[in-house]
Symmetry: D2
Subunit: 346 residues, 4 copies
C-alpha cells in the first residue's frame, strides 16, 4: 500500500510535533512542511531530510498525490486554509479552536461533507489515555450523577496576540468538558482581566450551568507563577482528579462524597448535621500512556482511509467555538448568557 | 496584676480552640464555658477542671469580674449575643463572619464605641505568620502593582445548615483579600450551585473587580475530594503563592512576570511576541510559626487592656459582611453588582 | 470504678503528650508530674490545675493509690526509674528505647513478671493506624514474600546528648521493622558519622540481612535540611509506601513488581530481558486516624487492668535494644556482626 | 567547514538519544548507526533517512571520513570496541561505566593519549544544568565544608543481565559524587541483595568515608515501586537538595544547619543542648535547562576539534570504575575496603 502523504502547514510551536507524529506512523509520511518563515525551517532540515520545506501553499494543494494537510497556524487563518485544502480534495487535520466563528465551522463541515473528506479538529486531550479512562468511568456510571466539573489551566505565558486566553487555553477545557459530560451548558458567564496593551484577557474565569445543578468552571491564565493542569470532577458516587502535571498517577479516583440523611429531625441540632461524609479509598489506576497526539494522528489516518467520522469532527469543533463565542460576549457585556439548544447536543 | 477573665460562649467546633488559647495566655484565664449542649461539655471537664461549665448565659453577663466574652456560635446568634455582652460591659471577641447583616455590624460598632469596649472579629488568618509576611511584602512594594488575587479553599465538608459556603469558607478569603489589598472591590459577581435539600450553595465562585484591572477570584467548596488552601497573588514585580496545606514553606515568592516591549513593530510577526517572560529564582522565606489564634487572642487582650483598636475591628468585620451580602444578591440574581464606596475603604 | 491514677516522670519533649493522652482517657487521671526542672513545670500548671507537680520521686512511689508511672526521661535513667517503680508495685509505661543495655531490659522483664505488673515500652508507631494496616496486609499475605524493608527518618535536629542517632531515631524504625517482619536479622552492619564534639553519630546507615535475601535498611540523620519519614516495603506480590509526612494517604499500596520468565533461552539476547515488570493500580486505603499515642495509652491501661501482655512488652523492647547494641558495636568496629538467635524470635 | 561525522554503535535504549543529539548539533552529522539487531533498526529508518544503518563495524572503522564513534553497547563490549575505534583513528564517546576493569580503562587512556584522540565517557549528569550549578555553589564555598553526600536512585526496572545495580544506576551517582566533591573516598562498604536467578544485586547500599568525617551514601535499586532521583548534600553553611524527578525547581538551597556552642557548661543540662539550629530561607535558583546529553555531545565535539581534555575524560571514567571494583569486592566479602590513593585524586 502506498504511503499516506501529509503536508504540515505552519511550523511554529506545534508544527514540529505534527511532523514527528505523522512521520512516526508507519502508514504515513510527511511530504511537505509549509511556512512563510524560511529561517525557522532551515534549522530543522537536518532532521527530516526528505521532507520538502516550502513557503508556497499552492505546491501542496496542486500535488495530486498529497492526501491530507495538517494545519497549525494562527486561528484567523484556519478557515481560509482549511477551505482551500478541502476544495483541493485534501483531508484536513486542524488545530483547535477549529475556526474563529461558528459560521466558518459550519461552512467547513458542509464542504467536507459534500466532498466526502475527513475534517478533524485536534482536540488533543480527547486522545489522552487518562481522559479516555475518565470518560469510561463516567459512561459506566462509576461516578454516579455528575455534580461539578472544575478545571484549572494556568501558567506563565504564552500570551497570544490574536486571541484571548479562553480561545487559547480554555479551548482545551471546553473540548474536554464537552467530551466528558456529553451535554451543552444552559448558561455561560465569563469574567476576566487584561494586563497588556492588547486588551485581550490574560486571566479568565468561565462558569457554566447545566441541567440538574451541574456546574462547570474553568480558570485559565497566562499570568500564573506556577503551572497547573488540573481537572476535578465530582459525582454522587465517586470523585476524580486529573492532574496532567503529575508525571505518574495522573488520575485519582476518590471514593468520597456526601449522603443526605432523609429521616425527619424534630429537635434543633445545632452542632450536628444531616449530611454524612464518605471517606473511602483512593485509587490511581493504570492508563494508556501513549502520547495523545500520536493517538490523534493515528485516528485521523484511520478515518481518512475508512471514511468514518472522527471522534473530534467538525461538530465537536463547532460546539467548542459556540461556547467560546458566548464566553466572549459575556466577557464584553458582563452578563450571564444562554447557550441555545441549537449549539450543542440535541 | 489580676487575671483577664474570659467566658467562652459556644463549645462546638471552634470553642475548644478558644479555651485552649485564652488559657495559654499567661495574663488570662477562662472562667466560663457557656453552651446549651450539656453532654458535649461533660467530656471536656477533665481537661479544664477549674473552668465553670454552664448553659446559663446570665451567669456570665452578671459576673462583674468577667472582662470579656469570646463568641463561637452559629452566625445568626452573633448579633444578639454580642450586643448583650457589650451592654453588660464585656469586651467581645467574635467568630467570623461578624454578623448576619451589615446593619447588625454597624450597630455593634456603635455600641462598642459608645462604651469604650473592644469589639474584635476573629479573622484568624490576619494573625497567621505567612500572611503577615505577605502583607509586609505588599507594603514594601516587593510585588509591585497587584494584578490578581486568586484563592481556592475547598474540601469535603463541613456543610453548614445556616449559611452557604461563601459565608462559611469564603469569609476567610474575603477577610484575607481585604487585609492584603487594602481596598474594596468595585464589582462583585457570584455564581454557585447547591446539591442538597437546603438549597444553600455548597460550591461557589466569587469574582471581584478592583481599580486598575486588578481581579480577585475566590473558589470555595464543601464538595471537593481533595483539600486545597491556596492563594496566588500576582504583582508586576513578583508573584506569591501561599499554600496553607503545606507543612513547611507555606510562602513561595516567585521572581516571575512579564515585561511588555514598547518599541513599535512594523512587520506582522506571527510567531514572535512583544511580551517577554521573567523566570527568576523562587524563595521560600522563613515566617513566624506561632499558631494564628494564639496571636489573635494575645492581640485581643492587648487591645482590651490598652483601648487600642484591633487590626480586625468591627469595620473589618463590616467590610467582609457587606461583600458577602452583595455576593448573596449576585448569587440570587445572576447579575454583576457594584460594591458602593461607602462599604469599604474611603 | 475508681480512676486509674498515673504519675508522669519527665516533662521535657514527650512528657506533655503523655499527660494529655492519659488525661483524655476517661478511665485515667494524671495524679503527678515529676521532674527536676521546676521552671519548666510552672508554665504548664495553668492547663492541668489538679495535677500535682513535684520534683520528689518518692512522693509518687509512696502513694499507695498510684497505679502506674509513665517514664519519659533520658535513656540512662530508664532502668533505675522503672526498677524502683516496679518494686514499688506500679505498672510501668516507658519511652523507647526500653533501657541502655539488654541486661537491664531482661532484669525489668523479670521483675515485672515476678510482681504481675505490666511493663510496656512506648514503641508508639506500633499503635499507628497506617502501620497496623500494613501489618494486616503482611499477615494476609497481600504483599507476598517480603523482599526488602527500607526506612528513611531524617530531619534537622534534635541532637541528643546521651545517645547517638540510631538510639534516638533508629529505635523507631527497628521497632517498626521488628513488628512488621516478625523476625530478627541474621546480620547487622552500621556505619555513620559524627559532626560535633560529642562524637555521637548524627548520621547513620543500618543494614540488616534476614533469611531468604530479605534486606533491611534504615537511614537516620539529625542533619538533613528536609524532614523525611518514609518506609518502603517490597513484596513479591505488592509493594507499600508509608509516608508519615503526608497529611493524607499515608499508605500507598502498589500493584507492582517483577516476574521472572523461566523458559530457557538459547540465543544471546542483548537488548531483551527475561524479567517482566508489573505496573498495576495504586491504592491509598483508608486507615484509623486515631493519634497513635492515644491508642498506646489505652492499650497500656487495658493490659494493666486485665493482666494481658502488651503488644510492645519487655521482650519487644529487648529485641530492639539488642539490635541497637549490635549496631553500636558494628559502628565502632566497622564489621558486619551476627545477631544471635537468642536475641529475637525463636 | 565540513561536517564532523559520527558513527553510533549500539542502538538499544540510549543509542537513539545519541543519534538525535549528534544530529541536532549543527557541526555534526550521524553517518552510521551500527547494531547487530537489524529488526530494531528498520523501524527507525523513517526518521533518519540519510543515516546508514549497518551491522558491520568494519564499515565504520575503515571509513577514513568518519571522525568519531559513540558507543552505547553492553559494558563488556566497551573496551574492545573503543580500542578498535581508537586504533582506527576515531575519537571515542562512550557510555558509562567506561570499562569493566580499571586495567581496561588505563589501556584506553594510554592509547587515546598516544594517538592524540579524544576519549570521553558519557557521565551525562556532569553536563546537567542543575548539577553544574551545585558544583559552582561548592566551588564558591557557599555550602561551607561538606558534611555528607546522600543519593537515592531507585525505580522499578530495568534489570540488567550483565552488571549489578551499582554498575548500572550507581555509576551515575559515583560520577556525580566524584565531580562535586573532587576527592576520592578513603573507605568503601557495599551491601546488597539479589532477588533473581542472576544473583546480581538489584538493591544495593554503598557507603563511603572521606577525610574530615565527610560521609557519602548511595542507595540504588531496580525494585522500588516509586521512582526517586534525589541527592542531598549538607555543608556547614548551607544544604542542597537536587531532585531530578521534579519538573521544576530541581535545586533547592537551604540556609539550614547547626551551630555548636563552645562556651563551657558546668551544670548538667538535661533538656537543653549546646547545639543550635539555623532555619533560614530556602532558595530554588534558576539553572540552565538545556538537555544534559546535548551539552555533553557539544563538549565532546569541542574537545575533538580543539584537542582539549574533556571534563569527563578517561581518568574520570577510571575513578568511577575503581570505586565500582572496590564496591563489588566489598559486596562479595562483607568487608569495609580501602580505596587507595593511587585510584583517585593525587
Amino acid at each position: 500500500m502506498r504511503q499516506f502523504r501529509v503536508g504540515v502547514i505552519g511550523y511554529g510551536y506545534w508544527g514540529p510535533n505534527l511532523v514527528r507524529n505523522f512521520n512516526d506512523d508507519p502508514r504515513a509520511e510527511v511530504a511537505y512542511v509549509c511556512d512563510p518563515q524560511v529561517a525557522m525551517l532551515e534549522k530543522h532540515r537536518t532532521r527530516y531530510r526528505t521532507v520538502k520545506f516550502t513557503d508556497n501553499l499552492d505546491e501542496l494543494l496542486l500535488d495530486k498525490e498529497l492526501d491530507a494537510v495538517a494545519i497549525a497556524t494562527p486561528v484567523d487563518t484556519h478557515y481560509p486554509l482549511a477551505k482551500a485544502a478541502l476544495l483541493a480534495g485534501k483531508h484536513v487535520f486542524i488545530e483547535k479552536p477549529l475556526c474563529r466563528t461558528s459560521a466558518q465551522c459550519e461552512d467547513l463541515i458542509r464542504i467536507a461533507g459534500e466532498n466526502n473528506l475527513t475534517l478533524m479538529v485536534d482536540h488533543t486531550f480527547i486522545y489522552h489515555g487518562p481522559l479516555r479512562l475518565i470518560k469510561k468511568l463516567i459512561e459506566q456510571a462509576d461516578l454516579g450523577d455528575i455534580l461539578f466539573f472544575n478545571s484549572v489551566r494556568v501558567n506563565l505565558g504564552n500570551f497570544q496576540r490574536d486571541v484571548n486566553v479562553l480561545w487559547d487555553l480554555g479551548a482545551h477545557d471546553l473540548a474536554i468538558m464537552d467530551y466528558l459530560l456529553g451535554q451543552s451548558p444552559l448558561e455561560v458567564f465569563a469574567i476576566g482581566s487584561s494586563h497588556t496593551d492588547s486588551r485581550l484577557a490574560d486571566i479568565a474565569y468561565l462558569t457554566m450551568k447545566f441541567e440538574h445543578d451541574l456546574i462547570g468552571h474553568i480558570n485559565v491564565s497566562w499570568l500564573s507563577p506556577v503551572k497547573v493542569r488540573q481537572i476535578v470532577i465530582g459525582g454522587t458516587k465517586r470523585m476524580v482528579v486529573f492532574d496532567d502535571n503529575s508525571q505518574v498517577e495522573k488520575v485519582r479516583i476518590y471514593d468520597k462524597g456526601i449522603e443526605t440523611m432523609n429521616q425527619p429531625t424534630t429537635a434543633p441540632q445545632i452542632y450536628s448535621s444531616r449530611i454524612q461524609y464518605r471517606h473511602g479509598d483512593m485509587i490511581a489506576p493504570v492508563y494508556d500512556v501513549t502520547e495523545a497526539l500520536r493517538t490523534a494522528v493515528r485516528h485521523f489516518i484511520d478515518c481518512a482511509l475508512s471514511g468514518d467520522l472522527p471522534l473530534t469532527d467538525g461538530h465537536s469543533g463547532l460546539r467548542v467555538v459556540k461556547m467560546l463565542e458566548q464566553a466572549d460576549q459575556s466577557l464584553a457585556s458582563g452578563k450571564v448568557l444562554p447557550v441555545g439548544a441549537e449549539s450543542g447536543y440535541v
